[in-house]
């Protein structure tokens, strides 16, 4: 099977969807001639032409708003945010327009809004954010964040084919650092399905994005001490895959939730509450979380490293719940 980078897998998924369905088109800043700030859409303009690969003005609200409009009448727009931080400008279009159309008047808004998220590259406070929590609170939206090339391709295809608005967050730290086997041709990774990336019986780690890789490293370390960690990659953040989450935690009785996003109001809080509500009797230890602290993400490497959850912290958290 071909080995692709995370970025190449996203590109391949997008490409195949554009080949498959002529209703699919791309819009965003510098995505055509330049091929995107991170080169995800390199070569698309040449293949699919200006009508389906649209270089737009710097107008995120209009990019998403226009995507919504086009989707309402039958097209399948994929909008790029140059950095996911700028999605804040389209917040209203997403949370009020896109998310509420179906509920109010039965009209689906099959758009995808995708863009690079996350830290680790010293991008500073406005080029490193994780924005899932702002949208996690909005019924009507779906949110996915792949961690592997396989999932990246399968999820972009699922997102494009979905009948509702999907936010597709791609972690910029993983773009060229993570490689993996990606089948040629068509397959999808269903939205709403988590994936067990490592089997174990003692502790469950629930995580996504870059933190999947750190969690797998942590699992490897504690395995030497005889702690067998099951690592669940959420892949879809909204709607959460309760079944996979709860059955894994019920099995191990111990859960550590790891996310790069900040702590308060982060997704970990919701997951912990679901565990508490549904399988409290199965727990052998309190559910704990390893997250970034409640601050903006700082720029300078020592500060950023301190801010970002580290493997060692995950290891400590796992030991703590294992020995509780």
């Amino acid at each position: 099977m071909p080995v692709l980078t995370y970025l190449e897998a996203i590109r391949q998924g997008l490409w195949e969807e554009m080949e498959r369905d002529e209703r699919v088109f791309l819009l965003g800043e510098d995505i055509g001639v330049y091929g995107g700030a991170f080169k995800v859409t390199e070569g698309f303009l040449e293949r699919f032409g200006e009508e389906r690969v649209i270089d737009t003005p710097i107008s995120e609200a209009a990019i998403v708003g226009a995507a919504i409009g086009a989707a309402l009448v039958g097209l399948r727009p994929v909008a790029e945010m140059q950095f996911i931080d700028f999605i804040s400008i389209a917040f209203d279009q997403l949370t009020n327009f896109a998310a509420k159309c179906r509920y109010r008047w039965g009209a689906g808004v099959p758009i995808v809004v995708r863009g690079p998220c996350g830290g680790g590259v010293h991008g500073g406070p406005f080029h490193s954010q994780n924005v899932e929590a702002y949208f996690f609170h909005t019924p009507g939206l779906k949110i996915v964040e792949p961690a592997t090339p396989y999932d990246a391709k399968g999820l972009i295809k699922a997102a494009i084919r979905d009948e509702d608005p999907v936010l597709y967050f791609e972690h910029k730290y993983l773009y060229r650092r993570i490689r993996g086997e990606v089948p040629e041709g068509d397959y999808i990774v269903p939205i709403g399905k988590a994936d067990i990336k490592r089997l174990g019986r003692d502790v469950t780690i629930l995580t996504y994005g870059w933190m999947l890789h750190k969690s797998l490293e942590a699992a490897e370390i504690v395995a030497q001490e005889g702690i067998e960690v099951e690592v669940v990659d959420l892949r879809t953040l909204l709607p959460l895959d309760d079944e996979t989450i709860l059955s894994s935690v019920a099995k191990t009785g111990r859960a550590v939730i790891v996310h790069e996003d900040t702590r308060t109001g982060g997704i970990a809080g919701e997951i912990a509450m679901r565990i508490n509500e549904r399988i409290f009797e199965y727990l052998e230890a309190p559910v704990v979380r390893v997250t970034a602290p409640d601050t903006p993400i700082p720029f300078s490497p020592p500060l950023e490293e301190f801010f970002l959850p580290q493997v060692e912290e995950i290891v400590q958290a796992v030991r703590w719940v294992a020995n509780y």
Binding site: G124, S300, F306, A317
Partner: protein, 342 residues
């Protein structure tokens, strides 16, 4: 009657333009040596408009820059060490490593730092202008926006708001041909950004952005109107981005002829020519200024290079006026880790 700029003022502007260029050249070397953290955005070819517009302000006025306005910061009193430490993420930098590039300032110095989100400064500077009016002060607020940044909703809302309330706001719109890889004609369906002024009911003017004297006078006029209560100005400066969007970008999409055209109109060379033709200065004056800048840069760079990186715990400071006490509900691993990590 328009004032004439004195020799001293012109040489002063020359110093700031040259300082900007030489600091950026130094940054470029550091960038290649891997000594700066993150990207480097140059203002090569645009030093004139930044310097001249900021030079038209007075003590007590407020200025907010975008990524290509380093020169304006120098006019407001920023020194090279602040820029070097910012780019290196040092603990001695104005933001103590929390933010990068020209994202620093202080209300006391009349410098409001931008966020990356283009356009967002304009409503904020309108608010500063509003407060100036409410507090019966003479201060005006000046900020910049690129041709690309004018496509944002915030640009429109901010200008319209300032227009309706007749606020002392000056927006310098920099038409430098491109927004990242996007040429101006894909950004707007008009030729001159200043044409939008009509739609807002405010003053608009387009000037040659590489002619510092023209930019200075045009900004001066805008400042005077603002102080007289005549409201905002949208002042467009025509200039050109002579490098890529940032140093990672070789700008292959910019036609060579355009670069050649603008190279001949370099703002520093033009001021030199003007000064020479008017018998105000000659090569020895320019060399003396250059020499002085070299020394200033060396000293400041040395300080920046010797400065330590920030203590990691600074990451936790300054989110609120008062640091909230960390809740001690359980010995949660993160808190534990934070406390024990050196």
């Amino acid at each position: 009657m328009e004032e004439t700029l004195t020799r001293e003022q012109l040489l002063d502007m020359y110093y700031y333009m040259k300082l900007t260029r030489m600091v950026e050249e130094r940054l470029q070397r550091l960038y290649r040596q891997g000594k700066i953290v993150g990207g480097l955005y140059r203002s090569l070819g645009q030093e004139g408009e930044s310097v001249a517009s900021a030079y038209a302000l007075e003590e007590g006025d407020f200025l907010a820059v975008m990524i290509r306005n380093l020169g304006a910061l120098f006019v407001r009193g920023v020194r090279p060490w602040e820029v070097f430490t910012q780019y290196m993420g040092k603990g001695t930098s104005p933001t103590r490593g929390k933010d990068n590039i020209v994202h620093f300032g202080s209300v006391e110095r009349g410098i409001i730092p931008p966020i990356s989100h283009l356009g967002d400064l304009i409503p904020v500077m309108a608010g500063i202008a509003l407060a100036s009016k409410m507090q019966r002060k003479r201060s005006v607020a000046l900020t910049y926006i690129g041709d690309g940044g004018t496509s944002t909703g915030a640009f429109h809302e901010g200008l319209n708001f300032a227009a309706v309330l007749k606020l002392p706001l000056i927006v310098i719109a920099e038409d430098n041909g491109y927004a990242y890889s996007t040429p101006k004609h894909k950004q707007m369906a008009i030729e001159n950004i200043a044409d939008r002024a009509i739609g807002y009911g405010i003053f608009g003017e387009t000037v040659d952005g590489n002619d510092v004297i023209a930019v200075y006078h045009a900004t001066r006029r805008a400042v005077e109107r603002a102080r007289e209560g005549l409201g905002p100005t949208l002042l467009e400066v025509k200039t050109f981005r002579m490098r890529g969007h940032a140093e990672h970008d070789d700008a292959w999409y910019v036609p060579r002829e355009l670069l050649e055209y603008w190279q001949k109109r370099d703002p520093i060379l033009r001021l030199e020519t003007y000064l020479k033709e008017h018998g105000m200065a000659d090569e020895t004056d320019f060399e003396a200024i250059t020499h002085r800048i070299e020394q200033e840069i060396e000293a400041d760079l040395q300080y920046a290079e010797q400065s330590p990186m920030p203590d990691p715990r600074i990451a936790l400071e300054g989110v609120y006026a008062e640091t909230p006490s960390v809740s001690e509900v359980a010995p949660l691993p993160r808190e534990h880790a934070v406390r024990t990590r050196s």
